[in-house]
Amino acid sequence: MAYLLLRHRDIPGLENIEIYKQNGGFRALEKAVTTLQPKQVVEEVKASGLRGRGGAGFPTGVKWSFLPDTIWPHYVVCNADESEPGTFKDREIMEGNPYQFLEGVALACYAVGAAEGYIYIRGEYYPIAKQIEACIAEMEKQGYLGDSLFGTQTSIRLKVHLGAGAYICGEETALLESLEGKRGQPRLRPPFPAVVGLYGKPTVINNVETLTNLPFIVEHGAAAFREFGTEKSPGVKIFSLSGNVERPGNYELPLGTPFRELIFTHGGGIPNGRKLRAIMPAGASSSIIRVDDSNFDRVMDTPMDYESVPSLGSMLGSASVIVIDDAHPIDWVIKKTIDFFQHESCGKCTPCRDGNYWMKHLTTRIHAGKAIAADVKLLDNVAAQVYGKCLCALGDFSTMAVRSAIERFPEDFEKVTGNS
């Protein structure tokens, strides 16, 4: 199967604009700008069933249609903050197939009537930001960005903004604050960015991968897109596979591909003859799926799409699949996730700020064998106490691994608290 998103793997040199053009580049943008009304683009994307690849899986076309026609200007913001531990797909897209990505951003701009689009790239991706800026300059030079696109009235300009190293700036409202030059902290919602977004104006925020799908959808139509994936989760998805697997990396597969195919067929299975013990399908923010003899086949045969993964008590999220073998204690895993969230909590709201600090002390003590069973219970309790009370989703994310680990891997905790 030919790649839809990671096309550079099929076509060497695709990061070069000439090669991109030779391979159908900018045809979708030209088609949209010269032959389609913005509304028609929105409708096509709605029909395609494309869902956001940033984590929440919200239907992209529907999100676009929330922008009020009465308030202008509109903005498009691309979320290239890619900071979820275990996620490294946007990076490969931007490095290998930057023009398809930028064409996607431009299409989103056209669809919602935005003359300006911003690409918010995580600070550590500095070289990529430079590359994307060069690509934008090239597109401007060749008339794919700027004024009077393809001889029409349409003008679209893109700008790159570099983050400063904060996971929270991947959260869309914190991203907007950061983009406006303020402290990267989430905003109170409602109002939602679709109505009050960047500089207080209606704003669309989409993930890199989401947007990179657009040229295909606009050029080939919703039906062609729906040939991949499932009814409710159409299209392909890049799965970032990491952890205890033979061949970690990005795998572009149709949504609904079972775990077995990703982990064993493509990923080559678990190294060193170890056993698969746990899966975190959505990076550090996942509830941890327990895999053992009793449910091995059920888990392995579960399709990886937005509807099916919850049946395993977890989420697909950004599809950053972290595989954990039986050599790694789960109390260590949650210590790692809490270290991360504790470090990344923006500190704006009490439960996340103080809860993660507390959980950090507990997980550290538990993992160091300096805790008793009651501390594990307390940890579960604190996580439960944080959950559902925070200002943004990061706070909830921070409790996922902890609560599922304590529930599903009791033996690991009994071992360290000397209570087995």
Binding site: G347, K348, D354, Q385, G388, K389, L391
Partner: protein, 831 residues
């Protein structure tokens, strides 16, 4: 009027205007929901997550748009899976809110437990202890014990000076951002912010010098923990040892309602001393705010070393001697009183002058009182009600410095949609929030006001407004200029349709006086003297609450030429030093009385501490003097004097002390289960005051006389209209007012010394400084009327190159704009 929304909170039906947040609706219904980040004066941010409640909403049938009903006919409710923050959730029709279910209570308890994990719990040594929302809410809603290991507590810096007035304890901070938001949203001085993230989040100041704001003290009031404390009160007393005494700030004409907290102390021989000043809620005047001058200079002089006092026999002797001099002189006596005196003092003084046949003047260079008494604000006025469709004009005043709370209130009015026009010869802080900024040259004030109506947009805003309020100050103006300006402003009112000029709430002319009670004196017919120096010659002069000798060497000279000088004041001044007889007055913090604010609101102040031995209230001293001259005046109590004022001064008719002490319910409700502030300082139990009635066109007795008295001198006439254009190497020197001045009652405020020093000098544009070979801070010679003064040069880029600004009260006696020569004290080094 906004639509009313019906909902139920804990089973209690409530109706509140659309847009009300659930937490406020509950408060109105008598139900307290714990909050930390929420503050009724600021937009909700829902950060602390303390105010969690269960909220159910009626299920609406999509097809019919009607609520779905349960079998029992009640609307079917849908509760969300999560608790919601009541501070950021607006009410909606049919909503059901539960604040006290096990689920809601658990949420509230859990947030408190989380907050306490990072809190040092040093309540025993914390200044907020005893009036701390965190303490109080923990008692009411929190967990009984901690499950967090004490050793794992996060530690952070304590005693961190954000500025010289405010200290921060970073461990106690609960990151509610009230202080940050107050500074950026209410004060318009965004000098605080957060740094770092997560548990390391800490408050920092962005300004240099740190926490550079004139409203900084307010953050210590609204901080829900003991993280912010004032340099003067910290570790000074425990809240429960304090008694509250209601007062009015006397540092400017706004008349902020304040509370003085007092305690018995050894240093006062077991007597009461004032430990701090806090704003007292009066939504029509200062809401719950006050400025740092009021807080840090408002009462401190009560204990100054330079207090005047005389023991009983000495005082008796002084009074007798003074009485002899005055009785001798009779019509050759001149009374000169400053606007620091209360209404009761002014009235008594006026009676004395009339009966003695003496002349009585108000000591001020800010004229125009004959207009503010006729065109001033009418009863029912509240700057807090100005908004869309209303216009406010501020002319020749730097409100931020001259009356900070008016700056705050007008900034808020502009935010609510009022058209704010700021006209001045130089940039002022209020410009930032103005709809229109008008810049003129010094000297063109009157022309500017006259031309406003003919300006397109500004003219529209003035002509089509529902309400027009004009503030006029004395920026760059003396007596002649201010009087002419007031007249021009009054003309603006008369040029409007009758509906605008008739007494109408929220309409009128306000003088931005430099004293708390100039308006009161004006209402009783006091007026300034145009040529004071001449007037004093060979007279017996009775000076009260004024320091002419300190202000101006010419006046000091004139006083030396007087027959006798009797000076009555609280503190030692140049004038008391030069006087033949000194009478020691009690500070206003030690006695009872009333002030009339610039908004014409009469407000009571009460004695916070007993009068210093050897001092007496001004009205009592005046009455004793009168008595010794054979004139019988009421001097027994301020209340009895007020009764006479009411009977004899038309503007005051209908006012009683009892009425002044009345309080009606105010919104937001402050206190009660510690929602917004855990103490009692804000509470207003002693009165909101009463605005004087107004009969336009009717001039109170004596006023017509003043008009003639004030006819401008020929020189001044020449200067008017054409702007003041200096000749080649001359500069136009203009008097201006800075908040922190060197006034008699301000100078003793030790904590403000550095702030006062920042304005001790003359301000010029950097280009001007360069031209004269001067730098920031270098000493310069200012030659004025043939006298040379030396002063530090301070640079201000926002002023034009032809002027030098002379802050009042720092020793250069610039009564009117004048042309001066500026030279370097030490000639600049040749390059």
């Amino acid at each position: 009027m906004a639509k009313l929304i019906n909902l139920k909170i804990n089973g209690k039906p409530v109706s509140v205007p659309e847009g009300t947040m659930v937490v406020d609706a509950a408060k109105k219904a008598g139900i307290d929901i714990p909050v930390f980040c929420y503050h009724p004066k600021m937009e909700p941010v829902a950060m602390c997550r303390q105010c969690l409640v269960e909220i159910g909403r009626p299920v609406i049938d999509r097809a019919t748009g009607q609520p779905v009903l349960e079998e029992n006919g009640q609307p079917k409710l849908q509760f969300g899976p999560k608790l919601e923050t009541s501070c950021s959730t607006p009410v909606s029709e049919g909503m059901v809110v539960i604040t006290d279910s096990e689920k809601a209570r658990a949420g509230q308890r859990e947030i408190l437990e989380l907050l306490l994990t990072s809190h040092p719990l040093d309540c025993p040594v914390c200044d907020k202890g005893g009036e701390c929302p965190l303490q109080n809410l923990t008692m009411k809603f929190g967990p009984k014990e901690s499950r967090f290991l004490y050793d794992e507590k996060h530690h952070a810096e304590k005693h961190f000076p954000l500025g010289d007035l405010i200290f921060l304890d970073r461990e106690r901070c609960i990151q509610c951002a009230r202080c940050v938001r107050f500074q950026s949203d209410i004060a318009g001085e965004p000098v605080l912010g957060f740094s770092q993230r997560g548990r390391h989040t800490e408050i920092v100041t962005y300004s240099d010098p740190g926490f550079d704001s004139v409203f900084s003290g307010n953050t210590t009031d609204i901080c829900p923990v003991g993280a912010l404390t004032t340099a003067d009160f910290r570790f000074g007393a425990r809240p429960w040892e304090l008694k509250s005494s209601a007062s009015i700030c006397s540092q400017c004409p706004v008349g902020c309602n304040v509370t003085f907290n007092v305690r018995r102390e050894v240093k006062a021989g077991g007597g009461y001393v004032i430990k701090r000043a806090m704003p007292r809620q009066n939504e029509q005047v200062n809401e719950i705010w006050m400025c740092d001058k009021g807080r840090f200079a408002g009462y401190q002089y009560t204990e100054a070393d330079s207090r005047l006092k005389l023991d009983s026999p000495e005082l008796d002797q002084a009074l007798s001697q003074a009485a002899v001099k005055l009785a001798e002189s009779a019509s050759q006596a001149v009374f000169l009183a400053g606007g620091r005196l209360s209404n009761e003092d002014f009235y008594t003084l006026k009676q004395f002058a009339t009966r003695l046949g003496a002349k009585a003047y108000l000591y001020t260079r800010h004229g125009g009182g004959e207009y503010t008494t006729r065109y001033g604000l009418a009863p029912g006025s509240n700057l807090g009600n100005l908004g869309k469709g209303d216009t406010v004009l501020v002319v020749a005043s730097d409100l931020y410095h001259e009356a900070p709370l008016w700056y705050l209130r007008l900034k808020a009015a502009a935010k609510r949609g009022a058209t704010l026009i700021v006209a001045n010869a130089r940039a002022t802080k209020l410009d930032e929030f103005a709809t229109f900024v008008i810049r003129y040259s010094y000297g063109d004030e009157v022309e500017t006001v006259k031309s406003l109506s003919s300006k397109e947009k500004v003219g529209e805003a003035i002509k089509n407004t529902h309400h027009l309020v004009i503030f006029y100050g004395a920026d760059g103006l003396g007596l002649t200029g201010t009087t002419a300006l007031a007249q021009a402003c009054a003309d603006l009112f008369t040029s409007l349709p009758v509906s605008q000029t008739a007494p109408k709430a929220n309409n009128g002319l306000i003088g931005v006086w430099s004293t708390p009670n100039q308006q009161g004196a004006l209402e009783m017919g006091f007026a300034p003297c145009a040529d004071l120096a001449a007037e004093l010659k060979d007279k017996t002069v009775y000076i009260l609450a004024a320091d002419p000798a300190g202000d101006d060497p010419t006046l000091a000279e004139a006083l030396k030429g007087a027959k006798a000088v009797i000076a009555q004041d609280i503190l030692e001044t140049e004038t008391t030093r030069l006087a033949n007889i000194v009478l020691p007055a009690a500070a206003y913090t030690e006695r009872e009385g009333t002030f009339t604010s610039g908004e014409r609101r009469v407000q009571r102040f009460y004695p916070a501490v007993p009068a210093r031995p050897g001092t007496k209230a001004d009205f009592a001293l005046i009455a004793e003097l009168a008595k010794r001259c054979g004139i019988d005046l009421e001097g027994r109590s301020a209340l009895l004097v007020m009764n006479q004022i009411v009977a004899n001064e038309p503007a005051f008719s209908g006012i009683t002390y009892a009425k002044l002490a009345e309080v009606t319910e105010q919104w937001p409700i402050i206190g009660r289960s510690d929602l917004f502030y855990g103490g009692t300082g804000y509470e207003n139990k002693q009165g909101l005051g009463v605005t004087l009635s107004l009969t336009p066109g009717v001039s109170p007795q004596g006023r017509d006389k003043q008009a003639t008295l004030l006819s401008p001198s020929p020189a001044a006439k020449e200067m008017r209209g054409e702007g003041l254009r200096p000749k080649e190497d001359e500069l136009l020197a203009v008097p201006i007012t800075k908040l922190y001045d060197n006034g008699t009652t301000v100078a003793p405020a030790k904590l403000l010394a550095a702030h006062i020093a920042r304005f001790d000098g003359v301000f010029v544009n950097p280009a001007t400084a360069k031209k004269y070979g001067l730098e920031n801070g270098s000493q310069a010679r200012v030659s004025l009327n043939g006298v040379t003064y030396s002063a530090s040069v301070l640079l201000d880029e926002s002023i034009s190159t032809g002027v030098v600004l002379i802050p009042r009260s720092f020793g250069i006696p610039l009564a009117e704009p004048a042309f001066v020569l500026l030279t370097a004290l030490e000639p600049a080094q040749e390059a």
